[in-house]
Symmetry: C2
């Protein structure tokens, strides 16, 4: 199988097309499927008894939203997720996703990151996604990325390891390697620099004509799975 890695620009065009009039998807739908695929990747990689405590690090945009959805599914899969969500935008969708987690008793933390990290078995990095720009990660997210640099916990990055340049890969202070990368829709160029153990592709909703238009391959997903491990 060969994959064309997507540039930041093309990833944005695909996203706009999926959610525009011609694609017909709502952000709720795509986020639900993206978050579910992240949860399934975790479930395939980390046993829910040995790695029950999952700390989901939630950023301010849609990558964070994927993490919020993943947390809910992980609860239903038998894990004990918690959210670290230090900057909660005043946006209806995110607030509803948080509410859904709170209704399951999932704790939501806004400060003291390191103490929560110390109580986790595995970490989900859903801080920044493919629209991340800028050389320097600022607080309150800088603290998270700095901890990713040194933690011995396994990290599962959603679409982009946070702080990496979407095209150039490890960048500035963000040079950590996640253990698992869950690319969404198609891998972005920075995935070429991923040296962790498992690279999954999530997002089983891409119309073949869309993939053809942008010149990337959609691999075969097994059964009814929402993720496939790439080699």
């Amino acid at each position: 199988m060969s994959f064309k890695f997507l540039s930041q620009k093309v990833a944005q065009l695909i996203d706009e097309e999926l959610m525009g009039a011609s694609g017909g998807f709502s952000v709720d739908q795509l986020m639900e499927l993206a978050g579910l695929s992240v949860a399934q990747a975790v479930q395939k990689t980390y046993n829910s008894e040995k790695y029950s405590r999952v700390l989901v690090c939630v950023g301010p945009g849609n990558n964070g939203g994927d993490g919020l959805v993943a947390a809910r599914h992980l609860y239903h899969f038998g894990y004990k997720p918690s959210l670290y969500y230090p900057k909660q935008p005043n946006k209806d969708l995110y607030q509803r996703l948080v509410k859904q987690c709170q209704n399951l008793g999932v704790p939501v933390y806004e400060s003291a990151f390191v103490s929560h990290l110390n109580e986790a078995d595995v970490v989900i990095d859903s801080v920044f996604g493919f629209s991340f720009h800028g050389n320097q990660v600022r607080e309150p997210f800088k603290e998270i990325v700095q901890a990713f640099q040194t933690t011995s916990l396994p990290i599962v990055s959603v679409d982009i390891p946070s702080g990496w340049d979407v095209e150039k890969g490890p960048s500035g202070e963000a040079t950590f390697q996640p253990d698992v990368l869950v690319s969404l829709t198609a891998p972005k160029i920075c995935a070429e620099f991923f040296k962790g153990k498992h690279h999954f592709l999530g997002g089983r909703f891409v119309p073949p004509l869309l993939a053809k238009k942008y010149g990337f391959q959609v691999p075969h997903f097994p059964g009814a799975d929402q993720v496939v491990e790439l080699n």
Copy 2:
């Protein structure tokens, strides 16, 4: 495992609570998960090579929307779905779900039901759901239910076999038995009258506190599945 079967009234209350301010779900989200669970139930029961041609019969409301979502997922699972959608409401969500199917080349039919039925290997009945009222099914849906009465094709009913009374079961001209019933959230009272081969529960999103409030059990779902077969 014991399940309390839900009355029509309680099913409506639960739906309202899930999508109200306290539940936080959008209809897009719940429909996505419901439709995915229907597609997974089909995938677990009917081999995609032997039963590739899936005719999804789509009603005018949310039960139909679940069918539209299921059709899309079935396409991605390797089936060849088509839609029979004789009365398409002018509602943005349904129109977008149809668009998503059309972008996959899924045909959408509006008439000549029997000829399309004759070209199918399995039928999904997503015509009426738990809000169905009334003794008599009217056209253009009457033709569909009449065909269900006599077809030898396997039928997969979404939540309620269409035309059945939600509480009293087989009713009037609708006395057919689907081969598969996919109950959503929790089985409705009419599920007691189901005598088909496989009864699945879909909708892995119910907060335990909500189930407790309404006095029903949420069974254990295996792995990362969105459906569980009930005994």
